[in-house]
Amino acid sequence: MLIYLPIAEVSVNMFVLLGLGGLVGMLSGIFGVGGGFLMTPILIMIGIPPAVAVATEANQIVASSFSGVLAHFKRMTVDIKMGVVLLIGGLVGATVGVEIFKYLKSIGQVELLVTLSYVVFLGLIGGLMFIESLNAIRKSKKPGVLPKKRRHNWIHGLPFKMRFRTSGLYISVIPPLLVGVVVGILAAIMGVGGGFIMVPAMIYMLGMPTKVVVGTSLFQIMFVTAYTTLSHAMQNFTVDAILALLLLTGGVIGAQIGTRIGVKLKAEQLRILLAIMVLAMCFKLALDLLLVPSELFSIGAGGK
């Protein structure tokens, strides 16, 4: 059944959108990621204008992260203080991101920026995750090797220290603020929550305990994407409510199913599967930039 999207101004099959939402929601449930990095490029591929895809996807992530953060609140696995620090950075980053987006939209380079950011970040994260999980699988076969103890690094020399009780940390607020800024920019430009950057940064850079990482990152993502949605809606007029509604209906159902499947798989297997998926998407997008396009021309709205 075709449905006309009021802001995107294209007609798309409703069941394709519901199915996509469900599928990506399921993957995000299995792997514990937002799924924005998969959904945004897919939306662009099926013909949604990139600007609309990015802004609308931010809106969808509000729903999925809220659903997730509720569960984490019940388990008391959210470090609210850390979340707020990350959020302050995130709001600054998102403001900058929306401005960059607006400028590039006016000179016709949004598509390039979105694709390039995807290739770089997906390649980086996917590659690291792949190597890491390969090593983890190899190590798990050789018993008796103890994991390395965390050492003090440069982060502990920075000023403005603050105590984060839930995480059991006493560190400077500068690194989490910076992580927040980077994630905020990405959220605005790529239409992603940024969990795939934030989660590793929280574990490896900030040294947060794994059990509070996901809940805290979801907490930050929910507010940053809500803010991004609002900024895009007000400055770029690119949030499509009907598209968002279809995607999140499929998404929330898929996520619940995915969570159940995720429990049955082993952590290393999960990570390597996710790494392969991330790398595949990165490869596809890189090809688009490198191969001769089948249509060299594109039509955009005129005027400034």
């Binding site: 059944m1 075709l2 449905i3 006309y4 009021p6 802001i7 101004e9 294209v10 007609s11 809106n59 969808q60 509000v62 729903a63 999925s64 992260s65 809220f66 659903s67 509720l70 569960a71 016709g108 380079q109 598509e111 390039l112 390039l116 809500a226 949605t229 609002l230 900024s231 895009h232 809606a233 007000m234 007029f237 949030v239 409510a241 009907i242 968002a244 509604l245 999140l248 209906t249 929330v252 159902i253 996520a255 619940q256 688009d288 930039l289 490198l290 191969l291 001769v292 396009p293 249509e295 060299l296 021309f297 594109s298 039509i299 955009g300 709205a301 005129g302 005027g303």
Partner: protein, 254 residues
């Protein structure tokens, strides 16, 4: 505007040819884009009126029907390979490109009408999409307007259909015009031209109003006129869906 002036002057200048006139109507002159809009068909039909019998030796009658969407300014960008990747480089602004254009004729255009009239009345795709003289910066503008025609033809927005008109007894004519699902809002026109001996002998036009309706119109207008409220509403819906989903599945688990 220019097209109307030309049409008016030509009409005054050629009173002798105006022995025939044309009456035209549409099956509907309002198209509503609703949520389930999947395109629409418009029936353009009409009749030829003759006050006096035709002089001997007059050529056969041909009819052309043009349905055109609102003109819009578009920017056409061309990709180029820079630093090893394909990026948008050269851009040209085309000021008057119809958002929708379809033409139905009884015969191929070049066979039935002279070049001057085709150009002046913008009959045919290559005359409907033209770069404005002031925006011409290099000699390759042709490829940019060709690109618009190619891309929009692929999208079903532009078409030229020879022989789509049914002409009965040189008097009654009808054509079924397909409006695709990816239509934009605006004031559309249906123009009808009667042609004899490669010259336009009569013409008429009717307007078609294409509007978003219902939920579509409400959402679109809200997003432009009250963006803050629209944004907040979008977030609220997302939060409600997130909460709803976790509640429903929590209850299902019990």
């Amino acid at each position: 505007m220019l097209r109307i002036i030309i049409a008016a002057t030509l009409w005054i200048a050629t009173p002798l040819l105006a022995q025939e006139s044309v009456v035209v109507d549409l099956s509907q002159n309002k198209v509503e884009i609703t949520t389930t809009f999947s395109g629409s068909n418009i029936f353009v039909f009409g009749a030829v009126k003759r006050d006096t019998p035709l002089p001997a030796g007059t050529g056969p009658l041909d009819v052309a029907i043009v349905v055109e969407g609102p003109l819009e300014t578009v920017t056409v960008r061309k990709k180029e390979k820079k630093f090893g990747i394909w990026v948008n480089a050269e851009a040209i602004e085309i000021q008057e490109a119809p958002s929708f254009f379809t033409i139905a004729t009884t015969r191929p255009l070049s066979e039935m009408l002279n070049e001057g009239d085709l150009r002046d009345y913008a009959i045919g795709l290559n005359y409907a999409v033209r770069p404005q003289p002031q925006s011409i910066t290099n000699a390759d503008t042709e490829s940019f307007s060709e690109a618009i025609i190619r891309i929009r033809t692929d999208n079903g927005l532009y078409s030229e259909r020879v022989g789509l008109i049914n002409l009965t007894e040189d008097t009654l004519f009808e054509a079924d015009i397909r409006l695709p699902a990816n239509l934009v809002e605006g004031d559309y026109t249906a123009r009808v031209y009667l042609v004899r001996d490669k010259n336009i002998v009569a013409d008429a036009s009717v307007g078609i109003v294409v509007r978003k309706a219902g939920l579509e119109a409400w959402l679109y207008n809200l997003s432009r006129e009250n963006a803050l409220l629209y944004g907040l509403l979008s977030i609220l819906v997302a939060l409600a869906a997130g909460y709803g989903a976790s509640e429903i599945f929590r209850r299902l688990r019990r």
